[in-house]
Amino acid sequence: MIEKDKLYSIWVYLQAEPLFWLTLTIGSYLIGDYLYRRSKLFPLVNPVVISITIVSLVLINLNVSYERYFDGAKFIHFMLGPATVALAIPIYRKFKFIQKEALSIFVSLVVGSLFAIISTFALCKIFGISDQLLFSMLPRSATAPIAMGVSELIGGIPSVTAIITLLTGIVGASFGTFALDLLKLKDMAARGFGMGLASHGIGTARAMSRNETAGVFAALALGLNGIATAILVPLLLKLLNLF
């Protein structure tokens, strides 16, 4: 039998190691992925959400700071950059397809991007959200680094934008497919494009896990809407004389 003190000292030693948090993150995702498969890929049983929930509960209950956790998790976070570069491969494979649909891609991009920004603006005004929080919310459909940059430029708070952007991604990935099914849309390119445009990387990851064409168009929308949001948000605010 190991004494309680000894057990505690082992815990104190392990929780200071990045390896502990790295292993916990991978393990919790595997649990989420297992449940996702068991549910026959039901969108609400999202492995990312399950994994985030498990890790957050562990951190909160054991009173561990996010900084300590991130010390281990940063190795996973780091791979987001190379993964973004890797998206060039599926886009390249479908390049002919993309060229053929260039016009509908452009129109859907402009309309979708404008709708995301204007609907956020209108709803914030209706609910009486303060201007600073409103500015932090406007670029939320762009990928996090772009959204944060735009937010800073127009007078929002970048860290709040990061939270809202992530929230947008999770909402889109978890509930987007219901909207698409409700509209009876079967075109995989269009479904993916909508997911990527509105809910950036997390929506793209979700589309990629279901269908390669959907994944490619999601990745395309993610990149294009990042650029569109960076141009349109400051432009719209200038038109309204708010910036």
């Binding site: 993964a83 060039a88 491969i89 509908s104 509209l183």
Partner: protein, 127 residues
């Protein structure tokens, strides 16, 4: 494997460098993606064995990384949960706005593209 990892990291590094040099507000990895895509298109005509081997290696590694794309979002996702308090008493309003606007954006964008693609495909068949 190692060669393809080098190539992917190298393109990201180039992206970061270009972002810094020209002070563009686009993230480095996105610029890296565009550079890699342009390179692949330019290399299309070159069909020597070493180039196509390398391309296949990069494609295999990329496919492997992308299979776990969702997983890579877990660390920032945990950060969001831990920092929910930033939104203070606005949390329920923000959640509602994000929910409505995101779902509508997905629906409208996909619907528009679906209908436009149908028209394009119809015209294609006519020709």
């Amino acid at each position: 494997m190692l060669r393809s990892i080098f190539i992917i990291f190298f393109f990201q590094l180039m992206g970061e460098a270009i972002k810094k040099i020209f002070e563009i507000r686009i993230p480095g990895p996105v610029i890296g993606l565009i550079l890699l895509l342009i390179t692949l298109i330019l290399l299309k005509r070159i069909k020597t064995k070493s180039v196509s081997n390398l391309k296949k290696e990069v494609a295999d590694t990329s496919t492997y990384i992308l299979r776990y794309l969702s997983f890579l979002f877990v660390p920032i996702g945990v950060g969001v949960v831990m920092h929910f308090s930033y939104l203070e008493n606005n949390l329920s309003k923000v959640l509602f706005i994000v929910f409505i606007s995101t779902i509508l954006t997905i629906g409208i964008t996909a619907f528009l593209m679906d209908r436009m693609n149908k028209i394009i495909n119809k015209n294609d068949r006519k020709r």
